[in-house]
Amino acid sequence: MGKVVYEKSKGLTDNPLSYCPGCLHGTIHKLVAESLVELEVLDRAVTVASVGCSVVAYQFFNCDAVQAAHGRAPAVATGIKRVSPDSIVFTYQGDGDLAAIGMAEIVHAAHRGENITVIFVNNGIYGMTGGQMAPTTLITQKTSTSPFGRKEATTGKPLKVSEMIAQIPSAYYIERVSAHTVPHLVKAKKAIKKAFENQIHGKGFSMVEVLSTCSIGWHMTPVESLSHVENSMMPYFPLGVYKDEGEVIS
């Protein structure tokens, strides 16, 4: 027997993922699960699942979980963290959930400086409901509700959530990472781990935005969608740390 270099994390259950082939949700789930296992907090972790493709994330993370109403995951996480401060509470939300209907909840969770971790998966589209335009959809990007491409004149420019949340005084740590290549995955895991460490040490609100794909919604193959992240999303959504130790990094 050789030395095991990589195997499925104990932080994930054996349930087959409900995501489409090539969806990076699965890859991001692995980063979260591995971080929880490595920090030895899996047994006291609580997932707050959102609404969207990741609505059944509670079936995949091998820890306690609650499924919140659409966009309300940070509010539910606030309640859990306050009554059970020893729990490591994280929300796992998409851009349709966090950046659209749940904008008030995320802003005020950050505003109150809640000691929770938010994993924000940004793929610029509503995946679960059939590829509609989200606040983070890129200009000229075609979706089922912007069949001729998103137009700035009628729908504005895509929302830069990390930049926005970083301006909230009580937010502690905000970083944007990507999951489209293995080197980016290594950085993404480091960021996610740091966000959990912040919570363990009681530092306050941490959010990691992860650029992801939706090959079905984007009408691309899984491999083409990786290039789309690199060539189209990353220029508009620059990667990097936007806030660390409560200080805005410009």
Binding site: M1, G2, K3, V4, V5, Y6, E7, K8, S9, L12, P16, L17, Y19, C20, P21, G22, C23, L24, H25, G26, T27, H29, K30, T181, V182, L185, S215, T221, P222, V223, L226
Partner: protein, 71 residues
């Protein structure tokens, strides 16, 4: 003994991301095989070339691949 890739073909969705990130290009979809989900699962075509870098396994969204290095 060579490095070992254990591919859980019944969970594979045939997205091909592992084949895309493999630096040795030794992974490809097995077009002669269809799993219970209806996908062509991935297979390794030349195990002797594998360096056990585990890039395939890290990228795989469905945690299909286990990598062991010969020591």
């Amino acid at each position: 003994m060579a490095n070992l890739l254990t591919i859980e073909t019944k969970r594979c969705k045939g997205c091909g991301l592992c084949a895309y990130v493999c630096p040795k290009k030794i992974l490809e979809l097995d077009m002669s095989n269809v799993n219970d989900k209806g996908y062509n699962p991935i297979k390794c075509i030349d195990m002797s070339e594998c360096t056990a870098c585990a890039m395939c396994a890290r990228m795989c969204p469905d945690s299909v691949i286990k990598v062991e290095r010969d020591v």
